[in-house]
Symmetry: C2
Subunit: 223 residues, 2 copies
Amino acid sequence: MILQPLSESTEMYLKAMVELGGREVVAVGRLAERLSVTSVSANEMMRRLGEQGLVSHTPYKGVTLTQMGREAACNVLRRQRLWECFLYAHLKIEWPQVYELACDLEHATAPAVTEALAAFLGQPSHCPYGDPIPAADGEFEPLLGISLSVVGVGGHARILAVRATDTDVLKYLYERGLVPACEVQVVEAAPLQGPLTLRVNGKEVALGLALAEFVIVEIIPAS
Amino acid sequence: MILQPLSESTEMYLKAMVELGGREVVAVGRLAERLSVTSVSANEMMRRLGEQGLVSHTPYKGVTLTQMGREAACNVLRRQRLWECFLYAHLKIEWPQVYELACDLEHATAPAVTEALAAFLGQPSHCPYGDPIPAADGEFEPLLGISLSVVGVGGHARILAVRATDTDVLKYLYERGLVPACEVQVVEAAPLQGPLTLRVNGKEVALGLALAEFVIVEIIPAS
DNA sequence: TAATATCATAAGGTTTGCCTATTAATTAAT
DNA sequence: ATTAATTAATAGGCAAACCTTATGATATTA
Ligand SMILES: [Mn+2]
Ligand SMILES: [Mn+2]
Ligand SMILES: [Mn+2]
Ligand SMILES: [Mn+2]
């Protein structure tokens, strides 16, 4: 499936759709939110992407990626995550900054560069934030995990991935040790959507529920 | 000197100015030609860059870079040439393709990435096409050399740099061995702006004068 | 000095992506 | 089941960078 080069803006919309919904329907409002544009802009873009055959839009219901749209979106994810690996492992750029810097490079990366980069990196399977890197054909198995925000009090869990994109949020989590492979215990959950209290590397850490949603974990069964 | 991020288009104009004129005045028409835009577009852009203090425009004379404009332009060159080094030496991308691929990446490269890349590469001094890489502060000593097109018949020369930007032109030169460090002899120069006949690696090669202009050489004195 | 070539501006158009304000549809609450 | 609140979509418009064609203005050169 050959497609003309897409604009940066278009690529960011497609990436947001696959991140937000995968193969499911996504509300246009969620997209607008995620991309920090008005819902008007998101609607307009959905109309254009619909005309290009990249999405299918059912008014008042939401949008889904077509096969072509999904391929394009996964390819953006591939570029993004490969650059994250390079920036982190080779250029020694700080973990919280990696997302934002890769998010610029991803749109300026021709297929020849993507594949040469993947080879240079040794075909890595996951990015520094723990998410899988789609294969050259676009496919990948999504991470099986749950949000830290739904782990019950007393539960032990291992961090699989961090889904935040804001550098400040990543920095906040990084400074508290909340990165992939880290093990955490939920010590307390304050009522009324209050913060969690976690035990991380022997220290107690308070974490707002909204932030905990970004953290994808697997439960460690009690031994 | 802090300046707001410039658009890709703006960066390409600035880069063209420093490539075409260095510190000299450049005719707006030359710029338009180089960038494949109409002279109307180039004029409009020069007005805008003038307002931003990046260039100084004397109507009917031409444009020069201001100090600020020169710094911005040299920074683009730095990013471009660092990426060229990376693509060529580490990603093993073919020499003729490197320029075009780096020309996309250069505009998506934050200062942190530029400097980390330079460190990763070991602060290289020249790009794969032979041109010097400006330092972080923007300064660099331009290559001292002459165009192959002005070397007299019988002259021996060593290629210092190739200034072409079109991938097909680079491929054409590459296939004939005309890359930096290669030694050539001018065997014959056809009249009426006709092609040169060169001896390159023991073979005779015909090269149009327009192409020879892209090749920057130093004379090898007769021993 | 006059003809020619080059350069600049005027006026108007296209594309892409954004916005505010308004209207329509859906969903939730009486 | 209506009404109210929320959410989604459209109408209309703005701006940045491109473009074209037409028209002056300056510089070169014959
Ligand atoms: Mn991006
Ligand atoms: Mn470029
Ligand atoms: Mn106008
Ligand atoms: Mn409209």
